[in-house]
Amino acid sequence: MKRTLTLLFFIKILFLSEFNGYAQKKEIKINDTITKNNKYGLRIGVDIARPVISLFDENFSGFEVMADYRLTHRFYIAVEYGFDQDNQTESNLIAASKGSYLKIGGDFNAYNNWIGMNNAIYVGLRYGVSTFDQNLEGYTIYTGDSTFPGTMVFDPRSYEGLTAQWAEFIFGIKTEILTNLFLSINLQLKNKFSEDIPENFNNLYIPGFNKTNDYGNFGVGFGYGISYLIPIYKK
């Protein structure tokens, strides 16, 4: 009887210690998962919509590179740099714009990720600036009268070294499709606050800002990017 009790005691201790040990290990594991999966680093990428549009649309060519850096749990600083050439071939105007642009700002990730995931539904703000050239090739004259046949007037003029500045609101989604590789799609709403207006003409297209509007300072754009995260540290 005494021997049986002693044996049971030892078995109990063995099991208990086993259980204790297992529980402890598991706790450590959970801690590891939380800390190691918040990756901080530099994410660099390219816009994939622009090269595709360049292939199919002979009036457009452009590329854009982008980067962001994670500052805190939700905040990222972000930049985009690109080059656009756009030909405006309309029935009454033939013009072309080309130039480069830079956008600097930040993104706020509003999405609550599950442990181990790095997706984002984000909103962002940018300051955008572009330097560009515009060429006017030809135009028609609006008479509202059909007595004299109207043809296009070819009167090439070029306006060089124009600049424009705008503020931009971005709304987008980023998904990690492979480890450290992200796909993103975003919509951009822009409001132009400064521009050089060419004499006796107007800016029809501003690289980075896209098509302008005669009746307001609004512009829209979208981005479709692929980017790679270079992890620097984990938190």
Partner: protein, 163 residues
């Protein structure tokens, strides 16, 4: 919260994509017509109608009538925006039965093309207008006076013809 943001973003994107600047509206200031008033050669302050007036120009060797046998004291006619001169024939007393009296005027001017907007492109304004009446045996026009040097709208009379 996010549904609201997505909705408002889509709404703005839709409203922006359908912009007014794709259509050149009628109200947009366009290339002005030349406004001509007819006045009496006896009393230069009095408007005087031209009976059965026909206004014709020649385009590609074809006569184009802008007015046909009308009786009025003012006309508005276009100037060619692709040339520095436009010729007009002003025929007085032109009816189905009578040819009337034809006077020929050459308008010479300088052109400036002014940008309007994306949909309408450009318009032309005219400067330094000169009129030249072809002198013949039986001119019904007595005198032509240019009232303004720059023709940029249709608010005022540009040319007065006394007859």
């Amino acid at each position: 919260m996010f549904k609201k943001i997505i909705f408002s973003v889509l709404l703005i994107a839709l409203s922006v994509s359908c912009t007014r600047d794709d259509i050149c509206t009628e109200e947009t200031p366009k290339t002005p017509l030349l406004i001509i008033n007819f006045k009496s050669k006896i009393n230069p302050l009095l408007a005087k109608e031209v009976p059965d007036l026909t206004v014709t120009t020649i385009i590609n060797d074809e006569n184009v009538d802008l007015y046909k046998s009308v009786t009025r004291d003012s006309i508005a006619i276009p100037l060619n925006t692709l040339a520095d001169t436009t010729d007009y024939l002003l025929i007085r007393g032109n009816t189905t039965n009578t040819d009337g009296n034809t006077d020929s005027i050459t308008f010479t001017y300088q052109r400036d093309n002014i940008y309007i907007n994306r949909a309408c492109a450009f318009k032309t304004i005219y400067k330094n207008l000169i009129t030249q009446l072809e002198i013949e045996e039986n001119n019904w026009i007595n005198e032509i006076e240019v009232n303004t040097l720059i023709i940029e709208n249709e608010e005022n009379t540009h040319v007065t013809i006394f007859h």
